[in-house]
Structure formats: structure tokens, C-alpha cells
């Protein structure tokens, strides 16, 4: 498969997944606000903080309010990680590989893009109910894309590159969602473990579509450690970090033909080490290190995997 094509399928999936996760971020905060006791300050800065783009935001918008954060994250065409920009990039990538992906995939990403641009242009994303509906649609469209891709594209090399893109993006964003809680301030120390605290953890689970699955897992009560364990280490939940890393590794080895547990390329080594670490970690280990510190470290290791994927498969420097 052409390196350029593999790269585009990888980014097509990353961008669709990214758009979905941005929708999740904003959606959960909106829901949280609806549940918050009146008079409590709205906290929008943490949402921007988790994107890693707070400086960009501050420079352009100043103080974080509901309106400008939503504007920034959803329809700001100049901010490369807004939902609108993600879809534009996803569509451009799809357009450059239309002959490789199925036409159903193209149609889905195309109508997804049209839906988002239409919403951006119509200016209807002002009232709460249309915003909530919009985020719902974004999430569904992303699911639909993944489903269409699963069902209509041969599970060949290109498909596996797409999987790696989607799964790495998802693992990264689950880590960031979990990190949001670190930045959301409770009114006072005595609120730890309070209804408000629990509400926030529930909101967090919901933003990862993990609430119901978490409840079903046996231990029904909501505690910070259990939530973190579920989102980081759960083997079978499709948005947990460990699940994503495991599946990404599988796809990687399908591409290279190397047996899992062995490696030939730097990317196999980096991803393999990350997966093994997650296999043997306990949530106690993580909390001992500090959840925020652990997530920080995890993100930089996943960035490393992304970088090595690029170097191994996509880099197009001239052949001597």
C-alpha cells in the first residue's frame, strides 16, 4: 500500500475520532452544568486545558465562558482541532484516498462534513437544546463511520492503519477525559466524596459512554479509584486505554507480520512496551504515582508511538 495512502487513512480515522471526542468533552460539561447547584461558578477552562490548547484559546478569546469555549471547540475554522476543522481535515484525507476506501465510507464522511458545516453556518448552535442535539449527531455520525468502515472495507492493511489511528486517538482522549477531573475544582475539600463529586465522576463516565458498562461490571458504587481503573485498565471496554492499546498493537502486527511479543520496528517496540506495562499495572500503582502524572506520562508515550508510526511507514524522504 502507498505510504501516502496509509497515512491518509490513519489521519482520516484520527480526525473523525477526535471530532467525536471533542463533542464528548463539551457535551459532558453542558450536562454537568445542568446538574450543578445554582450559584456555582461555571468551569469551562478545564475543558480547554485538556485539549492542550489553552494558550491558543487565551490569546484568541481571553476568559473561558460557555459561549466562547463552545465556539472555539465546535465551529472555529481557524482552530485546527475544532469539530469543524477535524471534519474538514478528515474529508480532505478521505478525498485523497477515495479510490481505496469504500464509497460508503466516503459518503458517510462527506455527509458528516456537510452536516457539521451546515450547523456551523446556520448559527443555530446558540441554544442549549440544539447544541445537545448537535453533539449527539456528531457522536452518532462518528459511530456510523466506524461501522460503515468495518462492514464495507476489506480488513486489509489500509483498514488496520485506520484502526491504529482511531485507537491511538481514542486512548489519548480517554486519558484527557480522565484528566479533566483533576482540573475541575470542588468548592472545598469537604466536598470530596459529596454528591457533587459523585455527579462529576458520573459525568466523566458518561462522556466516555462508560457509565452503563461501569455499573454492569459488578462493583456498582462510584469511587474515583474504580472509575479510573475502569477507564484505564479494563480489558474489554472499547474506550478504555488498555483495550485501545491492545487492539492497536494487534493491528500493527497484522501489518508487519511480526508475532505479538516480538518486534522488528521501533514502533512495535514502543507500543509493545506500553501494552505490557498496562498488562501488569494495578490501579494502586497508578494512584501511588499520582493519577495526573501517570496520565501525563501515558500521553507522551502514545505521542511517541504516533511519531514512530510515521517514521516507520509514512515518512516520504527521498530515496537516495
Amino acid at each position: 500500500m502507498l505510504s501516502r495512502v496509509a497515512d491518509s487513512i490513519y489521519w482520516l480515522n484520527r480526525y473523525v475520532e477526535r471530532a467525536e471526542n471533542v463533542a464528548r468533552f463539551v457535551d459532558v460539561n453542558l450536562n454537568l452544568l445542568l446538574d450543578s447547584p445554582t450559584g456555582m461558578a461555571q468551569q469551562w477552562e478545564p475543558i480547554v486545558l485538556t485539549t492542550g490548547d489553552l494558550p491558543v484559546f487565551k490569546e484568541r478569546y481571553g476568559t473561558a465562558t460557555a459561549d466562547n469555549v463552545i465556539q472555539f471547540l465546535t465551529v472555529d475554522g481557524d482552530y485546527p482541532n475544532s469539530i469543524l476543522s477535524c471534519l474538514r481535515a478528515a474529508r480532505e484525507n478521505a478525498r485523497s484516498v477515495r479510490e481505496v476506501i469504500s464509497s460508503e465510507m466516503w459518503q458517510q464522511v462527506n455527509s458528516f462534513y456537510l452536516m457539521v458545516t451546515e450547523a456551523a453556518q446556520s448559527g443555530t448552535l446558540r441554544d442549549l437544546s440544539s447544541l445537545l442535539r448537535f453533539f449527539e449527531e456528531v457522536k452518532m455520525a462518528s459511530h456510523l463511520f466506524a461501522g460503515v468502515m468495518n462492514a464495507t472495507m476489506t480488513h486489509n492493511e489500509g483498514w488496520h492503519f485506520g484502526q491504529i489511528g482511531r485507537l491511538l486517538e481514542r486512548a489519548d482522549k480517554t486519558a484527557r477525559i480522565l484528566d479533566v477531573k483533576y482540573f475541575i475544582l470542588l468548592p472545598s475539600v469537604k466536598d470530596v466524596g459529596s454528591t457533587l463529586d459523585e455527579l462529576q465522576w458520573i459525568a466523566l463516565l458518561k462522556s466516555a459512554s462508560a457509565y452503563e458498562m461501569y455499573r454492569k461490571r459488578g462493583l456498582h458504587r462510584i469511587t474515583p479509584m474504580d472509575v479510573a481503573e475502569f477507564l484505564i485498565l479494563e480489558q474489554e471496554f472499547p474506550r478504555s486505554i488498555r483495550f485501545c492499546v491492545m487492539q492497536a498493537e494487534r493491528s500493527l502486527h497484522q501489518i508487519t507480520g511480526t508475532r505479538i511479543g516480538t518486534w522488528q520496528t521501533p514502533v512495535e517496540r514502543a507500543l509493545g512496551r506500553l501494552r505490557t506495562d498496562l498488562d501488569y499495572l494495578t490501579i494502586e500503582d497508578i494512584f501511588e504515582k499520582g493519577l495526573h502524572e501517570f496520565l501525563d506520562d501515558l500521553q507522551s508515550r502514545m505521542n511517541e508511538v504516533g511519531k514512530k508510526t510515521f517514521e516507520t511507514f509514512f515518512a516520504l524522504e527521498a530515496v537516495s
Binding site: 502507498l2 505510504s3 459518503q107 501489518i255
Partner: protein
């Protein structure tokens, strides 16, 4: 929705002999439309447009900034060509491609036609499409023009004329295929009652034509489509054809010449390429051989091509026959190489290069269309009857300065096809571009792209100038 009010006027109408009197081959279609309500016809028109938009059947326009995608306007009233008429067209086009192919081989080979003074040698050597590096080339099977889209028009009397031959990278065939797909869901019943020749196997024929160029000993040759990239106006088509044939769509940056072969960069290293269907003009294909500033092509490709280790369709150098001055000699070529009379006529053409003819052109600028010899897409032309005095004077100066670059033709009165305008039909002028493949045999896709001038009274059908398209139905015998 009734055709009762439709006025064919003083034109050749493709669907009507006279007011209220459809051509025999169009009767089932006209009956069907007459049985539908206005709203129903409008609904179908709208559904067809939406379907094309959803499928992303678009072309790019450079002029408005960053290359916006536009949908190619589509009208659901098809043009219909009778079986008999098509047979004549087919024979005429085959004859023309044979002769053109022999001509191109000749000018890069023995140059007999020049020695025999059938065509003045200086016209060939001054043609921008004539590429010196191609002299002495021997493409596989002696075929140069594998894929051709020839533009035809019909005059007021119903006679067909060849307007131009597009031998470099003719585009538009993807619209033929997608339009047909949409038309089948627009008028399924009509398709059931009328026997319309299918166009869908074009991609298979194209793949066969390309495979035919690979060396015989290769059991599984690698074919690619070479595109300038997503900002090219015909990008949709490049990707569509690659997809339909199941071959890689590559850009220049995916390719490299190494170990004497053309290779593409894959996730598993370099892989040899055997046949290239290029959608890049000659000048841009190899910066070492042609334009040094081009980033679209592949350095060193010409050497690989010359050594016969890669095949290219169309062959490099075919653009010499796209020159509108050379075009005017095609009837002579047919007589010279085939010893036959041309079945299809050229549009009468005046060469400004010849003093007598130039004089005539300058004296009649208000009734002629003047075209630059090497422009396409409706650029660089003067439509005399619609031009201002100042424009005509400017063109006269240009003609006198570089007479080799200009030809002039009488303004033809293009035939018309009824076209939906809100709640009634209007006759709009059309041309026709059938697609011809030259592989083991010559195959002509039955139909082709009918382009329609959607502005009232306009004669310009180019997509870049506000034209649209219609499906073309060739009925079976």
C-alpha cells in the same frame, strides 16, 4: 408535465422533429414525461442533483481562491442518438483515431507525411505539443493515443462536425458513468421500455487497454493512475477511475525512479510500476526532460519510458495532434495514411498562419470564432458575434503578432435539447464527447458526455464557463 408548449425553434432539435412531434426514438421518453406532473418532474430533477452531490461528483474551480468544489449541473432530460446515426459516428471516429495514431507515430519516426509535403514541416516543429525528446520512441504495439475524447457538434442542418480531438488527458468520462447511474433511478420505467446501450463497462475496457500495454511476460503487471492531486479540476475523475479499476491512484511524490525502473513508495518499501495512466500533461511529467519547475511529475521518468521499462497512456508527445492548427489537417491525414475519404467532417477552419486566410479572418472577425491553437476549456478565444469592437481589435493585433497561434471557424448553430427550466422546457445548445479506447481493438463507449449550455442562448458548454451535462442514450438497433 407537457411538452406541448415546447418550441424547437429554428434549430436542429435532438428530441423533436417539429413542435409536438418527437423523433421516433424519443417517443417513449416524451410520453413518460408527459404523463408526470410538473411537481414530479421537478422532484426527480432535484433528487438527481442531490444524489450527485452526495456522491461527491464534483469538479474544482481554481479561480475562487483555494479551489472550491462545485457540482457539475445536471439536467435529467437526456439526449438520444439513434442506432443508425451512432453506427456512422462510430465508424467515423475509428477512422479518425487510426489516422491520428499513424500520424503521431510518423512525426516522431520517419516523418513521411512531412517529406511528402502533405503537412508543412514548420507547422509541426512549431507546435508546442511536439516534443523533441519523443523522437524515435516506439510505444508498445505502436499505439500512441490510447484514450481519446473527441468533441462533436451538430449544425443547424443536423450534420455532425468534429470540433477537436483531445489526445492528452481528456476528462469527463466519470460524469458519463455517474450520470447514467443517477438516470436509472430517475426514469427506471423508461429504461425498462427502451433498449439503451449500456455504458457501465467503460472501466473494464479501460483496464484492458492499460493491461495491454504491459510486457507480455508479466503475469500481474502493476497499473497506476497518475494525478496531479486533489486540487486538480478533474481529481474526482482520477480517483473514480482508479477505484473502478481497482488500481493505485498515485501522485508524483509517491513515485521515484530507482534501479532503472519506475517505483512507488509503499509501507513495505519500493514497488515496481509497469503501466501509468497519466492525467498530467506532457510538460509536467518529468522535470529533467521537460519543465524543470514542475513538482507534479517524476524526475527521470522519461529515461525509463524511453527504455521501454514502463508504459504510459497516452504516450508522451500525443499533444502534437491536439494543436488546433494540426487538427485542420486530419482529413488530409485520413486520405494520406488510409487512402479513404473522411466519414466525419471537420468544422471549416481558417489558418491565420496562411496570409490569404488570415486576410479573410481579419476582415470577418465579427462572424467568426477565433481560438488559440493550444488552449482548452474555452480559454483564449474570441466569439466574434458577441465581442465588442475593442475586443476584436485586440484579437486582430494578437493574430498579426503570432499568426501560427490562431485559427478561426465560422460560428456554428449548435443543435439543441429540451432542458428543464423551473416549470417548462427550453431548448439549450449541446455538444458531445464520446470516449474512444485504443487497445487490442478500438472500443467506443456508446454515448459520451453531452455538455449543455445552461445560460439561455449561450453557445459555451464548458464546465468552467457555466455549462452542465446530460445523459446520452444510444438506443439499440
Amino acid at each position: 408535465m407537457q411538452f406541448n408548449d415546447y418550441e424547437p425553434g429554428d434549430f436542429y432539435d435532438e428530441l423533436f422533429v417539429a413542435r409536438g412531434q418527437p423523433r421516433p426514438e424519443a417517443v417513449p421518453l416524451i410520453d413518460r414525461i408527459n404523463s408526470l406532473s410538473v411537481e414530479e418532474v421537478q422532484r426527480r430533477q432535484q433528487a438527481a442533483q442531490i444524489a450527485l452531490f452526495k456522491m461527491g461528483v464534483t469538479f474544482n474551480v481554481y479561480s475562487d481562491g483555494q479551489g472550491t468544489e462545485r457540482i457539475f449541473p445536471f439536467d435529467i432530460i437526456p439526449r438520444i442518438v439513434s442506432a443508425q446515426e451512432w453506427e456512422t459516428l462510430e465508424q467515423g471516429l475509428k477512422q479518425r483515431i487510426y489516422a491520428l495514431n499513424l500520424f503521431i507515430g510518423d512525426v516522431y519516426g520517419e516523418q513521411k507525411i512531412l517529406r511528402d509535403s502533405v503537412i508543412p514541416a514548420e507547422l509541426i516543429f512549431s507546435a508546442t505539443g511536439f516534443l523533441k525528446p519523443c523522437i524515435g520512441l516506439e510505444p508498445p504495439g505502436g499505439i500512441w493515443c490510447h484514450i481519446t475524447g473527441t468533441d462533436l457538434v451538430r449544425d443547424r442542418d443536423g450534420r455532425w462536425y468534429v470540433l477537436e480531438d483531445n489526445l492528452r488527458c481528456p476528462s469527463g468520462v466519470s460524469y458519463v458513468l455517474e450520470n447514467r447511474r443517477v438516470m436509472k433511478s430517475t426514469f427506471p420505467l423508461v429504461f425498462n421500455t427502451m433498449a439503451i446501450q449500456p455504458v457501465e463497462d467503460y472501466s473494464s475496457h479501460l483496464l484492458e487497454t492499460l493491461l495491454n500495454l504491459a510486457p507480455e511476460h508479466l503475469s500481474d503487471p502493476t497499473v497506476v493512475v497518475l494525478t496531479p492531486g486533489i486540487y486538480n479540476s478533474a481529481y474526482f475523475e482520477h480517483s473514480f477511475l482508479a477505484q473502478q479499476m481497482g488500481v493505485e491512484l498515485v501522485e508524483g511524490r509517491d513515485l521515484v525512479v530507482q534501479d532503472g525502473y519506475l517505483q512507488m513508495r509503499t509501507t513495505k518499501g519500493l514497488q515496481r510500476v509497469d503501466v501509468v495512466y497519466r492525467r498530467i500533461d506532457d510538460d509536467f511529467i518529468d522535470p529533467l526532460a521537460f519543465r524543470a519547475d514542475s513538482l507534479l511529475g517524476v524526475p527521470g521518468l522519461m529515461d525509463v519510458y524511453r527504455s521501454g521499462r514502463v508504459a504510459i497512456a497516452n504516450a508522451l508527445g500525443t499533444g502534437v495532434a491536439d494543436d488546433k492548427v494540426i487538427y485542420s489537417y486530419v482529413p488530409q491525414m485520413i486520405r494520406y495514411y488510409l487512402n479513404e475519404e473522411p466519414i466525419l467532417s471537420n468544422v471549416p477552419t481558417y489558418l491565420c498562419w496562411e496570409p490569404q486566410q488570415q486576410k479573410h479572418v481579419l476582415a470577418n472577425l465579427d462572424s467568426l470564432v477565433v481560438k488559440a491553437a493550444n488552449e482548452s476549456g474555452g480559454y483564449g478565444m474570441l466569439v466574434g458575434p458577441h465581442a465588442t469592437q475593442q475586443q476584436r481589435e485586440e484579437f486582430a493585433e494578437r493574430i498579426k503578432a503570432t499568426p501560427r497561434n490562431y485559427i478561426a471557424q465560422p460560428t456554428l448553430c449548435l443543435s439543441r435539447v429540451p432542458t428543464l427550466f423551473e416549470n417548462h422546457f427550453e431548448g439549450c445548445h449541446v455538444d458531445l464527447r464520446p470516449y474512444i479506447l485504443y487497445g487490442k481493438q478500438i472500443y467506443i463507449n456508446p454515448g459520451g458526455l453531452t455538455r449543455v449550455a445552461l445560460r439561455k442562448g449561450s453557445l459555451v458548454v464548458n464546465s468552467s464557463q457555466g455549462g452542465g451535462s446530460k445523459d446520452t442514450w444510444v438506443v439499440c438497433k
